[in-house]
């Protein structure tokens, strides 16, 4: 399931709902991304996440489908927020449920690596000297490559 929303989410309630009633599930893995203080120079007071409505949902759904193709998963949840956020706020939530922990943990890692490079979101930081767009990181592309399938 994919949700793109402005509002915060309740991690406990989401995890509870993910596995509720399905007794095949033996493990739930999750990742929570937070707005962090970037350090180095200007103090960041807030962060704004812009996205491409429509394409965002489409890309996240494709990533979810790919995870289901690769691992035996009973449930997948991706929540990504947009709009104005402050340091410490939750930005993204990925949770996976599977009969076995290996699949749940690997799929969760895969999903967060892929959505970093494929989901159309852009961060801009508010600084005392004005708006600053966050640069993409080569490390994120490398992280995605680790999931490349052998031909």
């Amino acid at each position: 399931m994919i949700r793109v929303q402005r509002e915060d989410f309740d991690v406990g309630a989401e995890l509870e709902r993910l596995a509720a009633g399905n007794h095949r599930i033996g493990g739930v893995a999750s990742f929570i991304g937070l707005v962090r203080y970037m350090g180095g120079g200007d103090q960041v007071s807030a962060l704004t996440l812009e996205h491409y409505p429509g394409m965002t949902e489409k890309k996240l759904a494709e990533i979810e489908t790919e995870a289901h193709r690769r691992w035996p998963l009973d449930a997948v949840l991706i929540i990504h927020r947009f709009g104005q956020l402050e340091p410490g706020d939750r930005i993204v939530f990925v949770a996976t449920a599977s009969p076995h922990r290996e699949a749940a943990l690997a799929a969760c890692h895969f999903l967060i690596d892929w959505l970093k490079t494929d989901a159309p979101f852009w961060k801009s930081e508010e600084t005392p000297t004005g708006e600053r767009w966050v640069d993409s990181r080569a490390e994120d592309e490398d992280a995605k490559q680790r999931w490349a399938e052998q031909a």
Binding site: L49, E50, Y52, M55, H80, K116, P120, W122, W133, S136
Partner: protein
Amino acid sequence: MKLLYFAWLRARIGCAEEEVALPSGVRDVAGLLGWLQSRGGRYSEALQNLSVVRVAVNQDYVGREHPLREDDEVAIFPPVTGG
């Protein structure tokens, strides 16, 4: 066709969305980017360095050789930074 701009490209061009007729002679994404640069002013400034410009057609990432049609939705943006 519908053109969409995001992030700093939107800010520098000063426009989020516009309708343009597919310019004559423009067949693919590379042609469209060249045509936008040739509009001058904020367009040529914003699109100065095409190595940091990504393009999606009808909400899928495409390469520069991707062909274009009049009814396409073309989005132009910098590399993504979500997650």
